[in-house]
Amino acid sequence: MKYVDEYRDGRLARSLAAAIARAVDPSADYHFMEFCGGHTHAISRYGLEDVLPTNVRMIHGPGCPVCVLPVGRLDAALRLAGRPEVTLCTYGDLMRVPASHGMTLLRAKAAGADIRIVYSTLDAVRIAEAEPDREVVFFAIGFETTAPPTALAIRLAAAKRLTNFAVFCNHVLTPPAIQNILESPDVRALGRVRVDGFIGPAHVSTVIGTEPYAFFAEEFEKPVVVAGFEPLDVMQAILMLIAQVNEGRHEVENQYVRAVRRDGNSKAKADVAEIFELRKSFEWRGLGVVPYSGLRLKEAYAAYDAERRFGIAYVPAADNPACECGAILRGVKKPTECKLFGTACTPDTPMGSCMVSAEGACAAHWTYGRFRDRQRRAP
């Protein structure tokens, strides 16, 4: 595919790896966090860690929408789906995420709940239109990329005067999560991971632009390079981060110039601003409660807010105590440092959220990385 294949060229990747090896200072260590699960997946899938110098470590960040959704919110969605009048519409990757007591949306569906997988928010609106007797609730999750489509669905439902469509909103924001990783006081329990620079998300940045990262670059003196999702994009971003660290710079740079503009997508941002407002705080799996990190529907759109319409109370729920997703999402631990990894917890029987989504650090390592662990252990 054009604009994809050329950024996966193996020969060019090898010469870029040589360029990275030449650029690093052998006496220094470089710890970079790729925030976004899309990058985590690319790094694992293309084996980028194998071609990086040993003193360059990639830390997998919490930018995987499924992974950071706390169990309590999933429990609430399951309670909603249990109501006989409700049709719960969801993106497919949520179906197998374990909630409390080993329950999943998939199991609830098998037990008779009306849960349907949709590809786009418009599908959910179409279902509400076609089935006026059903209370259609869209289970909205994701970062700045999925919030505009949710906003548009609400705007559309309002324009069509649909009274049987609502959104259970769990949208979260990237910048507050990055800030949390850098300064949260409650990281003490998990420890803090050293991060010398960030690879900024690709698709999220097509919406929010590069401007929101300027704060981290300045305030925390950390370089940020926004990168595309292809392996050569990631390698070039790493090279740019190494150059910034070597030169003592901490700027926002854009590697993904072919798609990301400084101000992002103004239409998408305007729709989000019209429908949503910031929550005072929102719980993230792995990060805990993060101030001003989530979105909810504005009062003017309360009729479309499933939390208000169905009186959903949030009951926090504990993760499996042996599950290390929290530390893994912060980059403090590696998947292989979790006792459950590859034993009780695999993509077929995920215990924690990092194993569920293909973007999760554990699933990525299970699918692409564990063979290398074995080779490394072999004599």
Partner: protein
């Protein structure tokens, strides 16, 4: 609402163009959950590839 047909390497899907009204026939776009979010700028794409090749060539010449 404007919809477009987008070819994903052989799989053609209907994509919502609400956030990218300037998208036109023949454009390459970034699509997320059924919505086009950004247009690919061919000139910037070419420049990025040229930069990649340059960095790689410099490393090869030095080794």
């Amino acid at each position: 609402m404007r919809l477009g047909r987008v070819d994903f390497g052989g799989v053609v899907k209907e994509v919502n163009l609400a956030f990218l009204p300037e998208a036109d026939i023949g454009d390459f776009v970034v699509v997320h959950v059924g919505y086009a979010l950004a247009k690919i700028d061919p000139e910037e794409a070419r420049r990025t590839l040229a930069l990649l090749a340059e960095a790689g060539a410099a490393a090869e010449a030095a080794s």
